[in-house]
């Protein structure tokens, strides 16, 4: 049996179509159920167990080996590097890590930046020769710029609709981010055949030209 930790929300929604195209089993009553663990049988891949986790927790589940593989955004892996194998770029749930703020701030030096990614933001602003104060928040980052807690935000942007609705504009696109297939280092060695089957199934589905 293979256990897969899925990052709930945007990543999972983006990846499931690809997952189905690869004929991988998908939890059936995903929408109605509040369960966090699903087991689905499959002819090709054997039983697949799904864990639905918060994105930031997926690398933790995988590095501890309670999940053999995981599906999670590259942003999470950048911010919280773990000793896991990064097997495949699933090219789904694509978005960009951006610096954004109110238009009036564009020409000014950044001073205070709100973000869910303090490590990455620190690296980025240092690389730009800027010294900023970082404000760590865990959600609704735009709010910080709207009410003046910060003059910039460093956050994921998918469509830009939330930014626009809050009167913010993108100043700089920092990194392209998409969903990744990761594997526990021991599982990758001990369940290699099963994991390779899933990887190549997903790869074939990707090469079919499907895009998010």
């Amino acid at each position: 049996m293979i256990t897969v930790a899925f990052a709930k929300g945007r990543t999972m929604e983006g990846v499931l179509p690809l997952w189905q195209r690869a004929a991988l089993p998908v939890p059936t009553d995903l929408d109605e159920s509040r369960a966090l663990v699903f087991e689905e049988p499959s002819d090709t891949y054997g039983t697949v167990r799904f864990l639905l986790a918060k994105p930031a927790d997926v690398p933790t589940y995988v590095s501890f080996g309670v999940a053999d593989i995981g599906v999670v955004g590259k942003d999470v892996l950048y911010e919280n590097p773990r000793d896991v194998y990064e097997l495949l770029d699933l090219q789904a749930a694509a978005c960009k890590l951006c610096v954004a703020g109110p238009p009036a701030e564009r020409e000014k030096r950044p001073r205070r930046v709100a973000t869910k990614y303090p490590r990455l933001a620190d690296q980025y602003f240092r690389s730009q020769g800027e010294s900023v104060e970082l404000v760590g928040l865990s959600g609704s980052i735009e709010l910080a710029a709207v009410i003046g807690l910060a003059d910039r935000i460093f956050d994921l942007v998918q469509t830009g609709a939330t930014l626009a609705a809050n009167g913010l504009v993108v100043f700089d696109e920092v990194l392209d981010v998409s969903a990744r297939l990761i594997a526990n280092r021991s599982s990758y060695r001990l369940k290699k055949a099963a994991i390779d089957r899933i990887t190549s199934g997903l790869k074939t589905a990707l090469e079919g030209g499907w895009k998010a």
Binding site: F64, D83, L87, L88, D89
Partner: protein, 365 residues
């Protein structure tokens, strides 16, 4: 029942972990079993001080590695560090003996090793780099590559057999083959460096992206995946001489041919090694994977790691380091490996060796 915030109890630095009655016994028993096994196989136990000069530890390594160590200045103003592993200390101790004509040194040890770590100990013991961990290992200085490597693999596998683990896998690679094969592909130095760095981190997506063309990177990875010296001709697809003629640059061309030649030499050694492993029945829990790399420059030959379910980092690891002793003034080939005891215990007891069932609160009155 409420938890009255206690006052006055001492805190502990990040990464340090206490081991209570019975748990400590379980750990010491495991160390002893391994040590006894190694001693029965002709390895003599040695020990050394917990810290060394940074200059000693850095011989044969990249200077950046010292960033991971606990360092300070001693009373004479020289920089010292807690040892990150035992190999440099053993090399320092053995070098004078080898220089004075002793043909070989076979030593074992059970010692604590140290690294800088910000992760809590509970996590780092099972998966990452622990601030403090116990290593029980052997070093065999003197014999060249070949039969001795097979003996070392056998010793490690038989030591695994001491423990009741159904499922474990030893993965074997080679410290020089991977990069040589990348050079034989005609990849530029900077691309090679990026790929090696990605392989080290286990970032296969990065390997594909480092290639100019991702499909080529993908193709190369799949050929690496099929590469095993148990099937000697599996290397042919990575050494295609027809691919070479396309190289426009003459110097580049000859560099590629040299790389191919060197790859063939290494491959011949590896196929002999694989035959010996097979003959001694050591291939049941063993697989080759040449995308497994190690960031210690002093490794020159085979490198290997042992994985068990539930622990995300190898429980045992080792390899051949033929250049290190020369850095201590006594050139001699050497090979060795070490067990990571806490990781092994995490696998053996499903992490419970630090929980109630193997000791803990219930047994303390």
């Amino acid at each position: 029942m409420t938890w009255g915030l206690p006052h006055g109890f001492a805190e502990q630095p990040a990464g340090m972990r206490d081991v209570y009655p019975e748990q400590a016994r379980v750990r010491r028993d495991t160390e002893s079993r391994l040590l006894e096994f190694f001693e029965n196989h002709g390895y003599q136990m040695v020990s050394s001080g917990a810290f060394e000069y940074v200059e000693t530890l850095l011989r044969g390594r990249r200077a950046e590695e010292a960033d991971d160590w606990m360092r300070w200045f001693d009373i004479n103003g020289r920089m010292v560090a807690l040892r990150p592993d035992m190999t440099p200390s053993i090399a320092r101790m053995a070098a004078p003996l080898i220089a004075n004509g002793q043909p070989e040194v076979r030593w074992c040890y059970a010692e604590k090793v140290f690294r800088r770590s910000t992760a809590p100990a509970s996590l780092s013991w099972a998966s990452g780099k622990a601030a403090e961990s116990t290593q029980v290992g052997v070093e065999w200085i003197g014999p060249p590559a070949g039969a001795a490597d097979v003996d070392i693999i056998a010793l490690c596998q038989h030591a695994m057999g001491l423990f009741e683990l159904e499922d474990w896998q030893m993965v074997v690679s080679h410290a020089q083959l991977t990069e040589t094969l990348l050079a034989a592909q005609g990849l530029a130095d900077d691309v090679r460096e990026r790929i090696m760095d990605c392989l080290l981190r286990g970032d296969y997506v990065g390997v594909r992206q480092a290639h100019v063309d991702q499909a080529a990177g993908d193709h190369m990875l799949s050929r690496f995946a099929r590469l095993t010296p148990l099937r000697p001709d599996s290397i042919e697809s990575l050494l295609d001489p027809l691919g070479v003629s396309a190289a426009a640059d003459v110097e580049d061309h000859s560099q590629r041919l040299r790389a191919m030649q060197f790859a063939r030499t290494l491959w011949a050694e590896l196929t002999d090694f694989a035959k010996m492993l097979q003959a001694r029945g050591l291939t049941h829990h063993l697989s080759f994977d040449f995308t497994l790399t190690r960031n210690l420059p002093y490794y020159t030959g085979i490198v290997f790691e042992v994985f068990v379910p539930g622990v995300g980092a190898p429980v045992a690891l080792g390899g051949r380091y033929d250049q290190l002793l020369a850095r201590f003034g006594a050139p001699a080939p050497a090979v060795g490996f070490t067990f990571e005891v806490e990781r092994l215990l995490a696998a053996l007891t499903d992490g419970r060796w630090l929980g109630a069932e193997t000791g803990g609160k219930e047994t303390e009155r």
